[in-house]
């Protein structure tokens, strides 16, 4: 058993280290770094949504709001207040927590479509506010975000290549958080509430508290993606609240097959690679993206990953060990 755990740790650690060298392995050009940084950022953004969709079983359409909360807070704190990345990250997380608490409170009683609708309504209201409130730059957005620089460590990132270590670290942290969440009591409680609320209650789980807590975990993850995105793009406008990011997140979460730890990452990579390197123009791309969604959900019960059963072991199932991993009893 101990061996088993050790082995597993290595199994996880090895790809984690190797992953850092992916852009170099792909040639290390500016475009590759730009793509990799974006994949990392959007994957982190999607992980926030992933725990809502996969574990809580709800489709939140308000996650762009958390993303925007991170991005706007960072833009304001860094461009206007001159704060560094660490402080702006803290600020982003705090703001996201506040928004999540509010949203969580409002949607406490709501389920399924109604939940989706209300979260969507929140996103629309947020977009209206962002577009019209001059404090947030209105429809012109916020400019003048300085480069990512942590003077304390003497670290500065002026381009995507230099930003990559930060993005990759953020990605690793997000994945680790999600995996921890799923193994923790809270993750189990979320599944219980998702699968059978009555039974969850009589097993001592408070559904509303659970939902609120999951929201409070999910929001900072997505917001931290917004934080880095602000630095990467150096400009933030109300477009971060648009459907583009929402669809990107949703697709990433489901396309590879739901409840896979690395699913959102692979999903984002797939979408961005298609969009950047195999683009056929806006409309054909739409048809492709739509078809991928349809095919992977309607015809591949295990997602795209199901097609490659052999590499499936790399994507550990979210749920607990099932029959076969239990040691034989004598």
């Amino acid at each position: 058993m101990i061996m088993n755990t050790g082995l597993k740790t290595i199994l996880f650690a090895a790809p984690a280290v190797l992953g850092f060298f992916v852009p170099m392995a792909l040639g290390g050009s500016g475009a590759v770094y730009a793509a990799c940084v974006l994949v990392a950022i959007f994957a982190v953004m999607s992980y926030g949504l992933d725990i809502i969709v996969s574990d809580l079983g709800e489709v939140s359409l308000a996650h762009t709001v958390f993303f925007a909360a991170g991005a706007y807070t960072t833009a304001l704190l860094s461009a206007s207040a001159g704060m560094g990345p660490i402080l702006s990250l803290a600020g982003s997380i705090l703001v996201a927590l506040a928004v999540a608490a509010l949203l969580g409170f409002v949607t406490l009683q709501l389920r399924e479509f109604v939940f989706s609708l209300v979260t969507y309504a929140v996103a629309v209201v947020a977009a209206t506010i962002a577009q019209n409130w001059s404090f947030l730059g209105g429809s012109d957005g916020l400019r003048g975000i300085p480069p990512f620089e942590i003077s304390l460590l003497g670290f500065s990132a002026r381009n995507d290549q230099e930003l990559w270590p930060v993005a990759y670290l953020l990605l690793l942290v997000a994945i680790y958080m999600v995996s921890s969440f799923r193994r923790s009591k809270l993750g189990k409680a979320a599944m219980m509430v998702h699968l059978n609320q009555r039974l969850a209650v009589t097993s001592g789980v408070d559904p509303q508290q659970t939902r609120l807590q999951v929201f409070l975990l999910s929001a900072p993850i997505t917001a931290s993606a917004g934080w880095l995105y602000a630095y990467q793009r150096a400009y933030i406008s109300a477009d971060v609240l648009e459907a583009y990011f929402l669809i990107l997140m949703l697709t990433a979460v489901v396309v590879m097959g739901r409840r896979l730890l690395l699913g959102p990452l692979a999903g984002v990579a797939l979408i961005l690679v298609q969009e950047k390197f195999f683009s056929f123009g806006g409309y054909v791309d739409k048809i492709i993206l739509g078809s991928v969604l349809i095919v992977s959900l309607a015809f591949l019960p295990n997602g795209i990953i199901g097609l490659f059963a052999s590499i499936r072991t790399l994507f550990p199932r979210r749920t607990m060990p099932i029959g076969k991993t239990i040691p034989e009893r004598s």
Partner: protein, 288 residues
């Protein structure tokens, strides 16, 4: 400020909203299905009507059934593809697959119809009616009448007829419905085909009010969503009233405050309503 004119605007708008939402009311309430491609199906209905009139030279009255036919076909194909998900009642996947269909429809329509704006003009939309200070078109009258008739018929069918009961049985437990001798797959296909036809009809009637673009549909799906949820999921009467209320709200909010924030305000109201009454307006609190 001309309040009577705003009232007319609101009533027409409200019936248009209700009409656009009707297919989804049936989907959601009767079969517990969702369709995020609804807006794009609306767009497609509008463009097929336009194509029928201006390219094929059909009279309006024939272009409508053509659009509905295409709607039926799209609805059928969609459901055919999702049948397994539907039988499994995998709502999250269904939401996202229909979103994917919306994408495909948008892309395909833009490639086929082009992405320039078009005017869908019908014999009714060209006829303005002026009553003293009031102004509307025959198209507006048609929208109100068709919406009322459609809702009345639907209410009757769902509540009173075998067909409606059938669909409700399938909605609740498809497997148990099978044991009652119901061809579950056919009901699902039928409900989706109905949705396609209903939204195409709505498009053929409502779209002539404004220019049409292949990129539209987003607003329609949102409005539908609001109407259906606010009305209480599955309540036919509820969604009629919710549509009407939303139309009046948008008109009067626009009149007294600003059209710029009408939708955001409607959402704010919606959120407030749902926090107080999670089941929407139609269902009594604590019921069920």
């Amino acid at each position: 400020m001309n309040l009577t004119q705003q009232l007319v605007n609101g009533i027409v708008l409200g019936h248009a909203y209700a009409l656009i939402a009707i297919g989804w009311t049936v989907l959601l309430g009767v079969a517990r299905l969702v369709n995020f491609g609804h807006g794009q199906m609306y767009m497609l209905g509008a463009f097929v009507t336009w194509y029928g009139i201006s390219r094929l030279g059909l009279p309006y009255i024939l272009a409508i059934p053509l659009a509905m036919l295409v709607g039926v076909a799209v609805g059928y194909v969609m459901q055919r593809v999702m049948l397994q998900l539907t039988l499994k009642q995998d709502l999250v996947s269904i939401m996202i697959v229909t979103l994917g269909f919306g994408y495909v429809l948008h892309g395909a329509a833009a490639l086929f119809f082009g992405s320039t704006g078009q005017i869908l003009s019908t014999p009714l939309s060209m006829e303005d009616v002026y009553w003293g200070d009031l102004w509307f078109t025959y198209q507006d009258i048609a929208i109100v009448i068709v919406a009322i008739l459609f809702f009345a018929a639907l209410k009757y069918i769902i509540d009173r007829t075998r067909l409606g009961r059938l669909a409700r049985m399938v909605a609740e437990d498809p497997q148990l419905a099978e044991l009652a001798g119901i061809n579950v797959k056919r009901v699902y296909l039928g409900v989706f085909a109905f949705e396609g036809a209903a939204v195409a009809l709505a498009a053929a009637l409502v779209a002539p009010r404004t220019p049409i673009l292949t990129s539209m549909g987003f607003d329609e799906v949102i409005i539908t969503f609001v109407v259906v949820v606010l009305g209480g999921i599955g309540s036919v009467l509820g969604s009629y009233l919710a549509g009407l209320a939303l139309g009046l709200f948008v008109a009067f909010f626009g009149a007294f405050v600003s059209p710029a924030y009408a939708m955001a305000a409607a959402f704010a109201v919606l959120i407030a309503v749902l926090v107080i009454r999670p089941g929407g307006l139609a269902v009594s609190p604590g019921g069920r």
